[in-house]
């Protein structure tokens, strides 16, 4: 065998090996590959895409939805659903504003000046928002576990009620938070160039992912989602765990509320309408199933980023939001279909 032919043989072997691996890679990580492809597309699609400003914007937006989605992921893993997160994104902060100003007046701090709420206690606000988020989540959980009402119905009802209460409490109009300088960082700030929301999002997602994979928490949740009966017989307190997941979901919604309102410097009773659907879409796209017990937070994080990139590109290209809706809807269907189409042997 001459060196030349030997060289050729090696080369062609390498080539075919490479092709095989690439196909495998695509098949096994469609979301990741799709995301990267999308990103590359974005670079060519619009010059404004790869600017720092745009990337920061992109990341900021998807972090808010992403945080919401992390909470929903945990609930779906345990085979429940939480439709109330969008409404909670408004409700938690609006109620918190009200509570904070009441608490402040109790403590004798000046609350209103010049027609706008002037809440000095940023710390109070953050604390109460998160607390209300937790309690709202617990409320969902109690209805589901103690009153045994299906989560679809429970959270649907809370979706209605929380949204309505937001209107009532706020009097129907936005509350301006422009005076709260310290709050701005959560939504608008950044650390080393990374937008604050992104850091919070990755932090929350990271903690959730860690808990689910390496600790007992994960085992409990996956078990209850996989076979609730098995979990019960293993002595697990399924009700308590369900309560906890709903509380976590409420907490994430509250976190998202803080990020959103901080960035826009206002709390609007109409904010985040429909966000629960987007959150569910992200969760499903990220690989978590409705049946519970299957899925990863890492998938959700990835999906949030991909959707974020997609939305961003669509906006940059100038496609109105209507076209965005259509495209995202189609992508969800396209993404979910192959999963369930796997030929099942009876």
């Amino acid at each position: 065998m001459s060196f030349f032919s030997h060289g050729r043989i090696i080369f062609s072997e390498e080539n075919s090996d490479e092709e095989e691996t690439v196909m495998h890679l695509i098949k096994r990580n469609p979301l990741l590959i799709g995301g990267i492809a999308l990103f590359v597309f974005g670079i060519f699609a619009d010059p404004a895409f790869l600017t720092l400003f745009n990337i920061q914007n992109l990341l900021r937006n998807c972090s808010i939805l992403g945080t919401l989605a992390v909470g929903v992921t945990i609930v779906m893993l345990i085979r429940e659903i939480d439709l109330s997160v969008g409404s909670l994104m408004a409700f938690t902060i609006i109620l918190a504003i009200e509570v904070t100003s009441k608490v402040e007046s109790l403590l004798g701090v000046v609350a209103i000046q010049g027609g706008h709420y002037m809440i000095h206690g940023v710390g109070f606000l953050i604390f109460f928002t998160l607390l209300i988020g937790l309690l709202a989540g617990l409320f969902n959980g109690i209805l589901v576990t103690k009153l045994k009402i299906q989560s679809l119905i429970t959270t649907l009802g809370v979706l209605y009620a929380a949204r309505a209460l937001s209107y009532i409490i706020s009097g129907g109009h936005s509350i301006y938070l422009t005076k709260m300088k310290q709050l701005h960082w959560i939504g608008s700030g950044s650390l080393l160039g990374f937008p604050a929301p992104l850091i919070i999002f990755l932090l929350v997602g990271g903690i959730a992912a860690f808990l689910l994979k390496y600790t007992i928490v994960g085992r409990r949740i996956y078990a209850i989602g996989g076979n609730e009966k098995a979990a019960l017989f293993a002595g697990i307190n399924t009700d308590a765990w369900k309560l906890a997941t709903f509380a976590m979901s409420g907490f994430c919604a509250a976190l998202a509320a803080l990020m959103y309102s901080s960035y826009l410097a206002s709390a609007d009773p109409q904010q985040a309408v429909g966000y629960e659907l987007s959150a569910i879409a992200i969760v499903v796209l990220g690989g978590t199933t409705l049946e519970g017990g299957r899925g990863k937070v890492s998938g959700t994080i990835l999906a949030a980023l991909v959707i974020g990139v997609l939305n961003n590109i669509l906006e940059l290209i100038g496609l109105r939001i209507w076209y965005q809706q259509v495209i995202i809807g189609c992508i969800i269907i396209a993404a979910v279909m192959p999963r369930y189409l796997r030929p099942k042997e009876q």
């Binding site: 808990l211 390496y214 600790t215 007992i216 928490v217 994960g218 085992r219 996956y222 078990a223 989602g225 996989g226 076979n227 009966k229 098995a230 979990a231 019960l232 017989f233 293993a234 002595g235 697990i236 017990g293 299957r294 042997e345 009876q346």
Partner: protein
């Protein structure tokens, strides 16, 4: 001083919504003892065990473990008291590995919440070896065979070194090999002083493995017998409360086989079965025996269009047919009564009448699908009478019937259609003794009406008593055919292991 028994239950009473499930029940279990609990469906066996396992709490009565009075409020408490419970149909989470399931609720941790996967994995392997089954416990439960799942379930119960072990119908999903293995484990556990309560519908097993047989009927204790001093007939009499019912329909055996109804030539399906050749005649019952995974059910489902065959042909009444879905199978004259009654056989929340008539709606309707309700109701009532379904109400939800009656409804659904070829997959699984006998007699009647019947069953005595001949499948091929005279249990047991490759 006498050592107190390992477990003692006194005056246990339990009702559900006003219906008394257990009345004044007494039970005593000693160390190293195996007690078999037998009784018809609804007699209260599982309820009693659930009380010991902490799933239910009794209204009256006391539980003593080693002489100490205890209260078992939930499965966790039961486990702490050294009670291990292996449920009917292993309750495992399919989305987790064997190891994870094994340690569910009793995980080994460090730093309080961190799961110590490595040491759990090691321990899992250890326990599996003790039991005598070796496979990788890191497999996903959803990919495990029934035997492997059983192994995980048993290991799970054994993890905390229980002193009392409850085995609830653990042999139901097992084949002969699995049962032998299980009995080996039970005897080993006995020797180490563990007390075992063993629930089963298979009386022969109780005679083989237990020290005492405890009979329940209608929530009350009927009696305890030593297997060496009693007989199956006596036990059945105690369970049923009347003359023992003969299991066989030998007296009705008229082997006057008719024309060929079904013929399979070289039927194959990639992963399930290969080159199946068989012939079914009218007035004939063919039994198919085999170990779990031999391909019997899959063959049956292929006949019914649930599996796509990739080779061979099916002939019905001499003509080749294409069967791609259940509707085509039914039109060809083939009916399939599945083994999983609850999930595939009946719609539990619908009532008896609806379930019975669903297969024949098309035949009793006017134009546009409007139903001839009077006719349909009449037929359903007739079927309920014929099959002796209790209670004989058409409006009762099937979920509220006992297992045996549910089975009858499922069978009745298919009888309505009056198909010439019927395939029964485990026709008496989870069915009480009386209904079982009724179903066997029914099979005989159907045969004499001219139908061709295939029965798949893991219950060899049942298969032998019902079939005219028996085909044995192993690893996807038919390895032996036993005529009526050759069909003894020993012979068939041997045939079960015949390697198709050497055939």
């Amino acid at each position: 001083m006498e050592t107190p028994p390992l477990l003692q239950l006194t005056h246990i009473t339990k009702s559900f919504r006003g219906i008394v499930a257990l009345k004044d029940m007494d039970l005593q279990l000693n160390e190293g003892e195996v007690i078999s609990l037998v009784g018809e469906n609804g007699a209260g066996k599982s309820t009693l065990m659930s009380i010991i396992g902490g799933v239910y709490t009794p209204e009256k009565g006391e539980i003593f473990i080693k002489g100490e009075s205890v209260r078992i409020e939930n499965p966790g408490v039961a486990r702490k008291h050294g009670i291990g419970y292996v449920h009917q149909e292993p309750t495992l989470a399919p989305n987790m590995t064997g190891t994870e399931n094994l340690f569910l609720g009793q995980e080994q941790t460090y730093s309080w919440i961190m799961a110590d996967s490595k040491s759990m994995h090691l321990r899992a392997r250890e326990i599996l070896e003790e039991i005598g089954i070796s496979f990788d416990p890191q497999k996903m439960v959803s990919e495990m065979t029934m035997a492997e799942k059983e192994a995980v379930a048993i290991s799970k119960a054994m993890l905390q070194r229980p002193k009392i072990l409850i085995l609830d119908e653990v042999t139901a999903p097992l084949d002969q090999v699995g049962v032998r293995r299980l009995f080996k484990i039970i005897r080993k556990l006995k020797r180490s002083g563990i007390g075992i309560i063993y629930i089963t519908h298979r009386l022969r097993e109780t005679f083989e493995i237990s020290d005492k047989i405890f009979v329940l009927r209608d929530g009350k204790k009927v009696g305890i017998r030593n297997p060496k001093e009693t007989s199956q007939e006596e036990i059945i009499k105690m369970m049923v409360g009347e003359e023992g019912i003969s299991n066989a329909n030998d007296d009705e055996r008229i082997s006057k086989e008719g024309r060929e109804l079904l013929r399979c030539e070289g039927l194959s399906h990639e992963k399930s079965f290969r080159n199946i050749n068989m012939r079914l005649r009218a007035n004939e019952i063919i039994g198919i025996a085999g170990l779990k995974g031999a391909g019997r059910s899959r063959f049956a489902r292929a006949l019914f269009g649930l599996l796509k065959v990739d080779g061979g042909a099916i002939h019905v009444d001499g003509q080749k047919v294409e069967i791609k879905n259940p509707l085509q199978a039914m039109n060809a004259g083939i009916g399939y009564i599945p083994g999983d009654r609850q999930h595939e056989g009946v719609a539990l929340i619908r009532n008896v009448g609806e379930n019975l008539s669903i297969t024949t709606l098309g035949f009793f309707s006017y134009f546009l699908g409007v139903l001839k309700l009077k006719v349909i109701t009449k037929r359903a009532r007739q079927m309920v009478r014929n099959l002796n379904v209790k209670p004989p109400s058409l409006k009762k939800a099937v979920a509220n019937l006992s297992g045996g009656n549910q089975q009858k409804v499922m069978i009745g659904k298919w009888l309505e259609r009056d198909l010439p070829i019927l395939v029964f997959d485990e026709p008496t699984r989870g069915v009480d003794v009386k209904s079982k006998a009724e179903i066997h007699r029914l099979l005989g009647r159907l045969k004499n009406q001219g139908k061709g019947i295939i029965v798949i069953s893991s219950d060899l005595p049942e298969l032998i008593s019902v079939s005219d001949r028996i085909l044995v499948m192993n690893q996807g091929s038919i390895t032996t055919e036993c005529s009526y005279n050759e069909s003894t249990e020993e012979h068939i047991l041997q045939c079960l292991h015949v390697d198709p490759a050497t055939h």
